[in-house]
Amino acid sequence: MMRLRSWQMLAAHGVLIVLSVLFTMPFAWLLSTSVKVDEKIQAAHTEFIPRAPFIEDAGECLRVRPLMVKEGKQEVQIYRGSRLTEETRLVDPDAVRDRIYLDVANYTEAFQWFPFHRYLFNTLVICAIAVTGTILSCSLVAYGLACVPWRGREVLFWIMLSTMMLPGQVTMIPLFLTFKWLGWINTILPLTVPTFLGSAFFTFLLRQFYRSIPTDLLEAARLDGCGELGIWARIMMPLSRPALAVVGLFTFIGSWNDFLGPLIYLMDEDKYTLSIGLAMFQGQYGSDWGQMMAMATLMTLPIILLFFFTQKTFIQGVKLSGIKG
């Protein structure tokens, strides 16, 4: 790119700022709705900074809920702490003022219907097994395809690649029937056991990585009498840590987000993952916007945090997944 003149730079910043605001708006809406009081959620004008109505009473600020207007006076119901009391008062309409107020009631109320900790635990169990399974199986297979010379490995590699073209919908029904026959429906087995059988894409990534490691290193280890399994465990695994991090991270996120799998295989509510739990919650309580946003926030937050802690690996992974073409 040519060096930009200062007014051009300014224009670029202007466009970027406008676009960033546009892209950030849904997040702002998500967060602010999740901490808004009910009467403000579907207000005519969205306030991104959550506010709630208050009255002044003997030097004390009381949060209120506006009821009806009677004879020019506003009837309000008083909150004590976060609890709505029976107490009502008639006040001057001007006395009711909005103040900035973050309400956690959406979270606490949603927890009564939405067993977040249960779903989180279920999701984390599946994620942990899937990450372990994928890293183990893909690195073993990648080693077999990249570091052990044997006839047929190229053929196997191309067969593996060609399976990536196959949409999951083709195998979905027979796999469902197979797992049903095994008695695995309504368990996490269909969501975890297959991860121990390799994933074409991640195996491909690791194979490319292993091929970039000099073969001299392997030969030296072999001459020293190290077995193949030893080379895999003591040389390749430590050397491929950055690639394994990408595989682990993306497997984790894939399992965290997976919807179709749990939808097909999990029946009991207490076995639900966050994805399926939130979707079902939306079906039942979708009209309660505050609670929906609260739970969506809680589901999103860990992934955003994960992104900030693993930014390099994350971006690297996105690029790698694009470069495979």
Partner: protein, 296 residues
Amino acid sequence: MNGRPHSHRWPVGVAFCLPLLVGLCVLTIFPVGASFYFSLTDYPIFDPPHWRGLGNYAELLRDPRFYLSIWNTFYFAIFAVPLGMVVGLMLAMLLNLKVRGMAFYRTMFFLPSIVPLIATCVLWNQILNPQFGLLNEFLRFIGLPEAWIPGWLVDERWSKPGLVLMSLWGCGGGMVLYLAALQDVPQELHDSAAIDGATAWHRFRHITLPMISPILLFTLVMGMIGTMQYFAQAYVMTAGGPWDSTLFYALNLFNTAFTEYRLGYASAMAWIMFAIILSVTLAMMKLSNRFVYYHS
């Protein structure tokens, strides 16, 4: 390679590849065969499959919902994929101007693409709400007359555009790819072209675009394959409605299999999906030979 014949090593190689070999058999080859067989049968889940020959495929060709779901899917793909690419590329090019704070902007544009899918659905269900949603509030704010305010997911004319908008919010994933490709375009090419008097547009058209065409093709193909399988958003947000306007192919397939329990019919749909994906991909690869430039 190392003096020892390959054949001595094959037990070791096969042993390492055992997970893949088992996986291929159990998770791919067997299910693919079974699926093809089911597609030729009538298979209501609780009774054994019963031979129907090409009956399912013949029925599909007469099924208006099948055509409707193909139409909905193509409508969505034709807008969502190219628009996502254009917006992603524009963002990437803006970021590639090397303005200060690039890392910050990049994060802002990238974050939406990693929000968990179902959380995105829940969020956008409210953003697209015709009365109280953020989007319509914005449209009213900029002064659009009430008659022009779309009903989004409750209006069959606007439900697909609404989902397209939602998908555009996640175009940051593509942006990261384009940005990486743009940064690989050699600066000398731009500099020497500029000295020869090439305008910014010409440099974009004849240097940038050819240099990043492989990644554009890749995202185009992956995007097309992805939209053929577009499912969760429609399942969670619209359940195919209103008036089947968001009955996408994969949703129709899922419903046929898991709510109507017509496993044979659904298998036939899966095979047609595979055929469509394969032919669209091959067609794009073929066409791309003329447009895509591989410099390595």
